[in-house]
């Protein structure tokens, strides 16, 4: 069959593109436009105010804390998820008895809906009767109210995110590990390199393309997933576990300030784009293999 002619292809694509534009691209553009307008009320219709919303944004003290939270969250969860997933991939790749079961267990958290994961961890962290509290008591330690105290709430969120994501990244690393030519490792072994040296000098550099892919995905996810914040802490106590997207949600629905919510959305997208760019640049420079 010859290629589909142009008019027919366009007809087939009209509906999908319209749906996509109406429900994802239009809302995105609308955020950008809204960010230059004031919040309309019944008495005062919204009017063009230029960069005023952005001035509010710069002066917003809560936002500073939230940016710090989000940054810390990304800085900790991304490397942690990467390190853990490489570790799990190595374990599974080692061809020991029971690897099929291990692979399934590692992958299990990834398959679970985020909302269920958030609740599972809510019970796990529960002060007093939660399993973690009980283990602390078992070892004679003072139990901690993980979600209820400002010093631990963000870290508790991080643990959930890494738990959920590492299994997915493991799959990509597993695939990459199996593509590492065995003769390279063999040659290094003959030259007298130990297993640790082989891993850091041969395997890890070969995994770089996968790491780029995983790192970018982990970065995007660290900003996009907030189900657990909504379920477990609602950003509290005292905004200690609020992430940027959660703040947008709170401003838009809690304070009903959709103009400022839009401004924050634009800010977040810019930030995300910038960071993805930097990440690509840094990691790309070190990627020698394609």
């Amino acid at each position: 069959m010859k290629r589909l002619n142009f008019p027919l292809s366009v007809i087939l694509l009209v509906v999908p593109c319209a749906v996509l534009a109406a429900f994802t691209h239009y809302p995105a553009v609308k955020s950008l436009i809204n960010s230059f307008w004031s919040m309309g009320t019944r008495r005062r219709p919204s009017q063009f105010i230029g960069l005023e919303n952005y001035q509010t944004l710069l002066a917003d003290g809560t936002l500073h804390q939230i940016i710090w939270n989000s940054t810390l969250y990304a800085i900790v969860t991304i490397p942690a998820a990467i390190a853990l997933s490489i570790g799990m991939a190595l374990l599974v790749n080692a061809k020991l008895p029971g690897t099929a079961l291990m692979r399934l267990s590692f992958f299990l958290p990834t398959m679970m809906p985020m909302i269920a994961v958030a609740n599972i961890w809510l019970f796990f962290y529960a002060p007093g009767i939660g399993l973690i509290s009980q283990i602390f008591v078992l070892f004679g330690l003072q139990p901690i109210n993980f979600l209820g105290s400002a010093s631990t709430s963000l870290w508790s969120m991080m643990a959930v995110a890494v738990w959920k994501e590492a299994g997915l990244f493991m799959i990509f690393y597993l695939a990459a590990l199996q593509a590492v030519p065995p003769n390279l490792k063999e040659a290094a072994r003959i030259e007298g390199a130990g297993p640790i040296r082989i891993f850091f000098d041969i395997v890890l550099p070969l995994l770089k393309p996968t790491t780029v892919f995983v790192a970018v995905n982990a970065l995007i996810n660290s900003f996009r997933l907030i189900d657990h914040v909504i379920v477990m802490t609602k950003g509290g106590p005292n905004n200690s576990s609020a992430l940027l997207l959660y703040y947008i949600f709170e401003v838009t629905f809690g304070y009903r300030d959709s103009a400022y919510g839009s401004t924050l959305t634009v800010f977040m997208v810019l930030l995300l784009g910038l960071m993805a760019l930097i990440q690509f640049k840094i990691l790309d420079r070190k990627t020698h293999y394609q």
């Binding site: 589909l4 593109c17 609740n119 599972i120 939660g130």
Partner: protein, 267 residues
């Protein structure tokens, strides 16, 4: 005799097992609890009382399970109706901006979905779609589309064009060729995307939360409400029900996890 090398490995595996299954075990305890309060280490009373409440016909849970499944079915149908023609056009069409269109379909994946949902909720509010069945189906469909269009495009691109040409040469009409040759061959990929879209819709929380509340109750929303009310038993049972399709799906795709299939991803 146990070799010394096994000891650190066993400790690592034990830690992994605890970290992965500890939270799950905690949830299972709650699912079979009648009464549990501090300082008891284990539930004070065990039982199936809350299971009976969840599975009560016409109960809240059964209603929301029903809602979730019906919504997911509609989402899959809508996604397939849109993505099959689109995928076919993108795979076979003579299109000038093909890659641009594909990127446009991928873009929402990078854009924070909650931000989109918030805006959709506002737009839907204007059309009176908030709290309606159609509104929720639309929100889920938009999310599923990103994925299903890409998969459909890949599935159609992978089909050997000569088979289609052979069918045409012996006199089959283009439409007949599509339905007897092309579509059946693309079916595995399309089915995979349908399953994925189904699960995604079943598990979707934030979009439903923004657009559907308070009139459309789905399983994830019920789970959220139960846990906010401090009803950990109902929340655990609901979470367990939600896990069933995911785990089932995982067992199906388990053979694909053997990695040679995924070897090309990301590199």
């Amino acid at each position: 005799m146990i070799q010394a090398a096994w000891i650190p490995r066993a400790i690592i595996l034990g830690l992994f097992a605890f970290v992965i299954f500890g939270p799950l075990a905690n949830m299972l305890l709650w699912a079979f609890t009648e009464v549990w309060y501090f300082p008891h280490k284990l539930p004070v009373e065990w039982g199936f009382g809350f299971w009976a409440r969840v599975f009560k016909p016409r109960g809240n849970a059964m209603l929301s399970l029903n809602n979730s499944v019906v919504i997911a079915i509609f989402v899959v149908i809508t996604c397939l109706l849109v993505s099959i023609p689109a995928g076919y056009a993108l795979a076979r069409g003579r299109l000038p901006w093909r890659s641009l269109i594909l990127v446009a379909f991928l873009l929402p994946q990078a854009f924070p979905s909650v931000a989109v949902h918030i805006n959709i909720a506002r737009i839907f509010y204007g059309f009176g779609l908030n709290g309606t069945f159609v509104g929720v189906v639309l929100v889920h469909t938009v999310q599923g589309l990103v994925f299903s269009v890409w998969i459909a495009t890949a599935a159609f691109s992978a089909i050997d064009r000569e088979l289609e040409e052979a069918a045409r040469n012996i006199g089959a009409s283009p439409l007949r060729t599509f339905f007897t040759i092309t579509l059946p061959m693309a079916m595995p990929g399309i089915m995979a995307s349908a399953i994925f879209v189904f699960l995604q819709s079943l598990d979707e929380f934030t979009g439903t939360f923004f657009v559907g509340v308070p009139d459309i109750m789905t399983m994830p929303l019920l789970l959220f409400t139960a846990s906010m009310e401090g009803n950990y038993q109902i929340a655990s049972i609901t979470a367990l029900i939600l896990l069933v399709p995911s785990v089932f799906f995982m067992l199906i795709i388990e053979r694909f996890l053997k990695a040679d299939v995924l070897a090309k991803v990301g590199s």
